[in-house]
C-alpha cells in the first residue's frame, strides 16, 4: 500500500528537506519513493507544505496529496492558522512539534487522528543544533510514531544530505527526538 505523508512547516524550517530525507530513508530500505514541495514560491516564515510518497512498487501518480495517511507539523503555530488534518485518512497519524499537551493539541485539530505523536522538536533542535530548524528532529518522531522507516535509516539519510559535523548533529537530533517522542493511540 502506498503511504502518503504531508509536512506542514514554515519557510526556513526545512519542511521540504524533511520530505526529501524521509524519501531517502525509505529508499535506503528498498522502497519506491517520491517527495516534492507544494509548488510555490518559498519565502522565509510563510507556511510551506511538502509531500512524501512511499510504496512497495514504482510510483507513477504525479498529483499532489489530498488525502494523506500521515501529517507532520513542524511548527506548532500552524495549528492555529492551517487545517493540518484536512483530508487526513481514517486511521491517520498526526505528528506535531509542540510543548503542549495531548489535550491542548487535540483541541486544535479539526479531525481526530487514530494516533497522535508529540515531541518538542524545537527544544531538541535548539539544544543540539543551536537553531530552531526542526526538520531532522521531527523525522525522529516520525520513525518512532509510524515505524515506516527505521531511525537508523533516518540517521543515514540525514548524513547523506548534510555532510560532516552538520550531518552528525542533525542525526543526533533525530535520535534524540526518536527517544523523546510520546505516542498516543486514540
Amino acid at each position: 500500500m502506498m503511504i502518503e505523508v504531508r509536512f506542514h512547516g514554515r519557510g526556513g524550517q526545512g519542511a521540504v528537506t524533511a520530505a526529501n530525507i524521509l524519501a531517502e530513508a525509505a529508499f535506503l530500505e528498498g522502497k519506491y519513493v517520491q517527495a516534492f514541495p507544494f509548488f510555490g514560491v518559498e519565502r522565509r516564515g510563510a507556511p510551506v507544505t511538502a509531500f512524501t510518497r512511499i510504496d512497495e512498487k514504482p510510483i507513477r501518480i504525479k498529483t499532489q496529496i489530498y488525502e494523506p495517511d500521515i501529517v507532520v507539523v513542524l511548527d506548532p503555530s500552524l495549528l492555529e492558522t492551517v487545517d493540518v488534518t484536512a483530508g487526513l485518512k481514517e486511521g491517520g497519524i498526526v505528528i506535531v512539534n509542540t510543548e503542549k499537551s495531548k489535550e491542548e493539541v487535540l483541541e486544535k485539530l479539526k479531525k481526530k487522528p487514530a494516533k497522535l505523536a508529540l515531541v518538542d522538536a524545537t527544544g531538541i533542535a535548539l539544544e543540539i543544533l543551536g537553531l530552531p530548524i526542526t526538520n531532522t528532529s521531527i523525522l525522529g518522531a516520525f520513525a518512532k510514531a509510524t515505524g515506516i522507516v527505521k531511525i537508523e535509516s533516518v540517521e543515514t539519510a540525514i548524513k547523506e544530505t548534510f555532510s560532516g559535523e552538520l550531518g552528525e548533529k542533525n542525526a543526533k537530533a533525530a535520535r534524540e527526538a526518536f527517544e523523546k517522542t510520546v505516542v498516543y493511540e486514540l
Binding site: 529508499f27 519513493v33 517520491q34 517527495a35 516534492f36 509548488f39 507513477r60 504525479k62 489530498y66
Partner: protein, 394 residues
C-alpha cells in the same frame, strides 16, 4: 555498476549532462530550471566535468553561445524554461537551420501573462516549428535517459538537428525520485565523441557558416531540415533499441498502456502519463474499457504510431497542457492531422488541462472520461474542452 540515487528532475538532467561530457555549456538561471546550471557549476567546480561553463547574461546569449560552440565543433548543452525559451526563440530556428546538434533540458513551465512559474507545456509546444527534436519525460529517470538519447539522435549524421527534452516544472524538476545513473563507460560507448564532419571552425578548413539563402536556395535548405527530421524517426527508434540493450530501459515514440481492447484511449505527454496510468488501472477495476498512450517524441510527430493507435479505439481523448488560441490544443491538431486521410477514424477529443500548474486530479480525468463516454453515444459537443476550469470565478 549503475548507481541509484534519490534526486530531483533537475539533478537528473544535470547528471545526464555530466555523463554526456559536453565541452561547452552556456546557461542562465530561470525557475524552475535553475538547479540544472547550479548543479553543473558544482560538477565543473569539483573537476567532475571538464567543460567551459559560460555564465551568460541572458537566455538569448546562452543559446547563441551554444550555437557558436557547436558550430566550432564541440558538444554543447544548455537548460532553460518558459520565458527563457521564448527569449531563445529566434535562435532556435537558426540552430536547427545551421544543423547544430545542441541539446537542451527544459523544465516545462507556463508563459506569462500572468507570470506563472508552474507547469504546462506552452513553452516547448510553442517551439514545435523550430526544427528541434522534442522529447517529453514522464519521470526523473526518463528526464535523464531522454537527454542522453537526445545527444545520440541529434548528433547522428542522418539527423544533425538540435534536440530538447522537456520535464514538467516542479512535478519533476523539484520532485525527488529514485534515479538510476548509468555507468560512465556505457554512456561513453553509447554516445561516442562528437566529431562533426559538416560544421566546425578550423583555420585549416575555413568554411562559412550562417550564409544568406536567396529564394533560389532557401527552400532547399529548409527541405534539408525537413528531411533530417524525417530521418530522425528511424534514428530515434534505433537509439531507443540501443539504449534498451545497454541500459535495460525501454522507450517508444508512443508508449501504450492497456490499449488493446480499449474503447477510449487517453493520450498525453510528460508526467501526466503517470497519473493517467493510475487512473486507467482504477477505471479498469471498475470495468471501464479505457487505455492510455504517452507521446514520448513530439517532434518528429509519431504519425504512424498514432494511426496504429487510432485503429484500436472509438475515442482518442487528447489531454494537453497547452493551447493555441483561436484553434485548440497543439497535440490535438497533430493527432487529427495524422488521421485526416484515414478511411475510418475514431472520435478525437481536445482537452485543455492543467495549465499553469493546476494539479490534474482524478476528478478532472473523470470529467474528461465522462465527456468521452457521452461522445460515443451522442456525438461531440465542443471543439475544445477546458477541464478543471473554475467556472465560478470567470
Amino acid at each position: 555498476m549503475p548507481m541509484k540515487k534519490v534526486m530531483k528532475g533537475n539533478e537528473a538532467a544535470a547528471w545526464a549532462a555530466k555523463l554526456a561530457k559536453p565541452k561547452v555549456i552556456a546557461a542562465f538561471p530561470i525557475t524552475p530550471s535553475t538547479l540544472v546550471p547550479e548543479k553543473i557549476s558544482e560538477f565543473v567546480a569539483n573537476g567532475e566535468l571538464d567543460a567551459e561553463f559560460i555564465k551568460v547574461e541572458s537566455e538569448h546569449s546562452a543559446i547563441s553561445a551554444c550555437v557558436g560552440a557547436s558550430a566550432a565543433g564541440v558538444r554543447t548543452f544548455t537548460a532553460t524554461a518558459s520565458q527563457g525559451l521564448a527569449l531563445m526563440h529566434e535562435i532556435l530556428f537558426i540552430a536547427a537551420g545551421m544543423r547544430l546538434p545542441i541539446v537542451m533540458a527544459i523544465g516545462n513551465r507556463a508563459l506569462s501573462a500572468p507570470i506563472n512559474i508552474w507547469n504546462d507545456w506552452q513553452d516547448t509546444i510553442s517551439e514545435r516549428d523550430t526544427g528541434w527534436i522534442q522529447f517529453y519525460a514522464e519521470n526523473n529517470q526518463e528526464a535523464l535517459d531522454l537527454i542522453l538519447i537526445a545527444f545520440k539522435v541529434a548528433e547522428d549524421e542522418r539527423v544533425l538537428l538540435p534536440a530538447m527534452t522537456g520535464f514538467d516544472a516542479f512535478i519533476l524538476t523539484h520532485t525527488v525520485e529514485p534515479v538510476e545513473i548509468p555507468d560512465q563507460e556505457l554512456v561513453d560507448e553509447f554516445l561516442g565523441e562528437y566529431k562533426p564532419k559538416h560544421a566546425y571552425l578550423d583555420p585549416k578548413r575555413p568554411i562559412t557558416q550562417g550564409t544568406l539563402g536567396f529564394p533560389a536556395h532557401y527552400m532547399e535548405a529548409r527541405y534539408k531540415v525537413w528531411e533530417a527530421m524525417e530521418n530522425a524517426r528511424e534514428v530515434i527508434k534505433e537509439a531507443f533499441e540501443e539504449f534498451e540493450k545497454k541500459f535495460g530501459r525501454k522507450y517508444q515514440m508512443v508508449e501504450e498502456y492497456k490499449t488493446d481492447d480499449a474503447e477510449i484511449i487517453m493520450i498525453t505527454m510528460g508526467s501526466l502519463a503517470g497519473t493517467l496510468k493510475e487512473f486507467v488501472d482504477k477505471k479498469r477495476e471498475e470495468g471501464v474499457k479505457i487505455g492510455a498512450a504517452k507521446i514520448t517524441v513530439y517532434r518528429p510527430f509519431p504519425i504512424e504510431e498514432i494511426r496504429a493507435l487510432a485503429k484500436k479505439a472509438k475515442v482518442l481523448a487528447i489531454l494537453e497542457k497547452d493551447v493555441s488560441f483561436g484553434s485548440g490544443g497543439a497535440v490535438f491538431a497533430d493527432v487529427a492531422r495524422s488521421l485526416i486521410n484515414e478511411k475510418e477514424k475514431p472520435i478525437i477529443l481536445d482537452f485543455i488541462i492543467g495549465l499553469g500548474g493546476r494539479d490534474v486530479t482524478f476528478e478532472q480525468l473523470e470529467e474528461a472520461l465522462g465527456i468521452a463516454e457521452k461522445a460515443i453515444k451522442e456525438g461531440v459537443e465542443e471543439d475544445v474542452y477546458w477541464i478543471g476550469l473554475r467556472k465560478e470565478i470567470l
